[in-house]
């Protein structure tokens, strides 16, 4: 009996997004990153339908992390005090295609640093590396509204991905990202209805849908990954069905979420194997799972996990193209 052809075809597709502006486009980046373009679910159709391969954005914190486990600090121990050197190491040694600066220390409870600090970090990292940047606020609305518009201005014209805006706090960052030529991250708390609404709100302010990347929130392996997976899957299916308000590429935050899991970081757990391996494995498993749901950009932390995930991406997206 012949194997039946079950490949489905769809009318819609995920938007193509190119991040980073080179000199020709008025920026200073030496490379750009293009994601999106999928016309099917992952593994669902021909190689052309798969769209662009997903990319890893490696996390760099704006100041020395206070709560990272030893296994995660170890690869960065010589550069962890300098975001610029840290970013450079990610690009030059670990092959990062994008850097995500997480402005953790501007949070009122985590250092309460000011906009000058954030602007300096942005400038330093822009000088140190040529890859496109993701600029990610601390999650405190008031502080983000004070600081992130200045960060946006410091990277004006570089076509960064900046965020994240939420249903309750989107106006100031959306307006400034539009003015500065950046791309916008719209965030929802694992809620597909709110995800769509934030996109509509940003669009109502005149922000082009083609310049939005969605962040549905992320759950790590063992900590809600199934919710994140099914929402990513639903977003992809909506995009394929032609829903323009859901046709954006998506980003997820695997590094932070995977390393919050006690299984990733607990030192004193003799039955679980060495902590040095467990963390990267937890991060890898979380990332590869979400990639299969249709995530386009993955924020990650440990270089071994990054290398394994990139190998996975190469095999799935690039080997048959």
């Amino acid at each position: 009996m012949p194997v039946p052809e079950i490949a489905e075809s769809f009318a819609g597709s995920v938007n193509l997004v190119t991040l980073g502006a080179t000199k020709d486009e008025g920026g200073t980046r030496s490379s750009t990153v293009t994601v999106g373009g999928a016309k099917n679910v992952v593994f669902g159709g021909s190689a052309e339908d798969a769209g662009r391969a997903p990319v890893v954005a490696m996390d760099v914190l704006d100041s020395k992390p206070k709560d990272w486990p030893d296994a995660l600090v170890e690869p960065y121990k010589d550069v962890i005090d300098s975001p610029a050197d840290w970013a450079k190491k990610c690009v030059e040694e670990f092959g990062a295609e994008m850097i995500c600066i997480k402005f953790e220390a501007i949070h009122p409870d985590k250092g309460d640093k000011d906009a000058d600090h954030a602007v300096k970090v942005t400038g330093d990292v822009l000088k140190a590396v040529g890859v496109p940047l993701v600029l990610w606020g601390c999650g405190n609305d008031e502080k983000d509204n004070q600081v992130m518009p200045k960060v946006s201005g410091a990277a004006k014209g570089e076509k960064c991905l900046i965020g994240a805006v939420t249903e309750d706090n989107y106006k100031s960052l959306t307006a400034i990202a539009l003015a500065d030529g950046h791309f916008l991250i719209t965030q929802a708390p694992l809620d597909i209805n709110i995800a769509k609404q934030v996109n509509i709100l940003a669009s109502d302010m005149g922000f082009p849908l083609e310049r939005i990347v969605t962040f549905q929130s992320t759950g790590a392996l063992g900590y809600g990954i199934e919710y994140a997976y099914s929402i990513q899957e639903r977003q992809r299916l909506a995009a394929l069905a032609g829903d323009k308000m859901m046709a954006m590429p998506s980003i997820c935050d695997v590094g932070y979420e995977a390393w919050r899991a006690k299984e990733a970081k607990l030192e004193d757990a003799p039955g679980w194997g060495g902590a040095g391996d467990r963390g990267p494995m937890w991060e890898t498993a979380t990332a590869t799972c979400l990639l299969q749901a249709g995530v386009d950009i993955i924020r990650m932390r440990h270089p071994r996990a990054v290398a394994t995930v990139r190998n996975f991406i190469d095999q799935v997206w690039k080997s048959n193209s």
């Binding site: 209805n193 769509k196 609404q197 509509i200 709100l201 639903r234 829903d243 323009k244 308000m245």
Partner: protein, 271 residues
């Protein structure tokens, strides 16, 4: 849900007058407003007043295409009028030929002709076929389904993709004596028509016909539309300028989980 906007029809006085005066602006304005309010196709019907139906069809198609790329639904019972429209239709955008019965007393091969015309027009052109034959419009469920089955099998026999076929089970004015049983008959027919092939043929209705002569036209139209959508109706020839009606389409699609809910779901539907 694919709404075929009904207003460019010579039966309406403004369109009739525009045809008589060769006033493109009226037609182009209707095309734009209907597109803006969510029309997937624009129905084009010359009505009965124009002496030169073929020339009028061409004039309408050309006038619309000058300003608007929304695909058109060429609406005439006469193949010659459709052929005239097809000569100037931009079939790249898609199109629908509306409509043909299974057969007629004086033309046993009318369906074949429509299939042939659509095939020649290109792969994006479909047809609307009425569940009606030489004996007229069936009043019951079974005959509607039987005619639909013959239409589907004729399409398959001709190698015409059933995804390009819209079956219209024919909505009759509810105000006509004894016609109140018809909406239920139509819904029952839809329940069966959707199983005639896989994937199911599209189904459409000329919605406004239902409320002809009543005092509550919009209400009757939109309630029946919601009922029919839940029985598998995936297209309708209707008035996109009726905002209440379009809100019912958006809400039904959302309730049937065809559109993801958002607080602004009504607003984004037409956009």
């Amino acid at each position: 849900m694919l709404i075929i906007a009904e207003r460019i029809n010579g039966m309406f006085t403004d369109v009739k007058q525009a045809i008589a005066d060769k006033d493109k602006k009226v037609i182009q304005d209707l095309a734009k407003r209907q597109t803006d309010t969510g029309a997937a196709y624009l129905d084009v019907n010359v009505g009965t007043a124009a002496a030169d139906q073929e020339g009028t069809m061409q004039w309408l198609v050309e006038s619309i295409q000058e300003t608007c790329s929304t695909p058109l639904c060429l609406d005439s019972q006469k193949p010659d009028v459709i052929i005239a429209g097809l000569k100037v239709l931009n079939a790249e955008n898609g199109g629908i030929l509306n409509s043909t019965p299974l057969n007629k007393k004086n033309d046993d091969e009318i369906l074949d002709k429509f299939i042939e015309m659509a095939t020649q027009a290109g792969p994006k052109v479909g047809i609307i076929a009425l569940t009606m034959d030489k004996n007229g419009v069936p009043q019951d469920t079974d005959n509607r389904v039987a005619i639909a089955a013959e239409i589907v099998s004729k399409a398959m026999e001709k190698g015409f993709d059933t995804q390009r076929l819209f079956i219209d089970p024919i909505v009759l004015p509810v105000k006509v004596p004894n016609a109140q049983v018809q909406p239920t008959n139509i819904l029952n027919a839809m329940d069966q028509i959707k199983y005639l092939c896989d994937p199911a043929p599209h189904m459409t209705v000329g919605l406004s016909n239902l409320s002809q002569g009543t005092n509550e036209r919009s209400l009757i139209n939109r309630i029946f539309l919601a009922m029919a959508m839940s029985h598998g109706l995936d297209s309708a020839i209707a008035d996109t300028l009726d905002e209440d009606l379009m809100n019912v389409v958006a809400t039904s699609e959302m309730l049937m989980n065809k559109q993801i809910y958002s607080d602004s779901f009504l607003k984004v539907y037409a956009s």
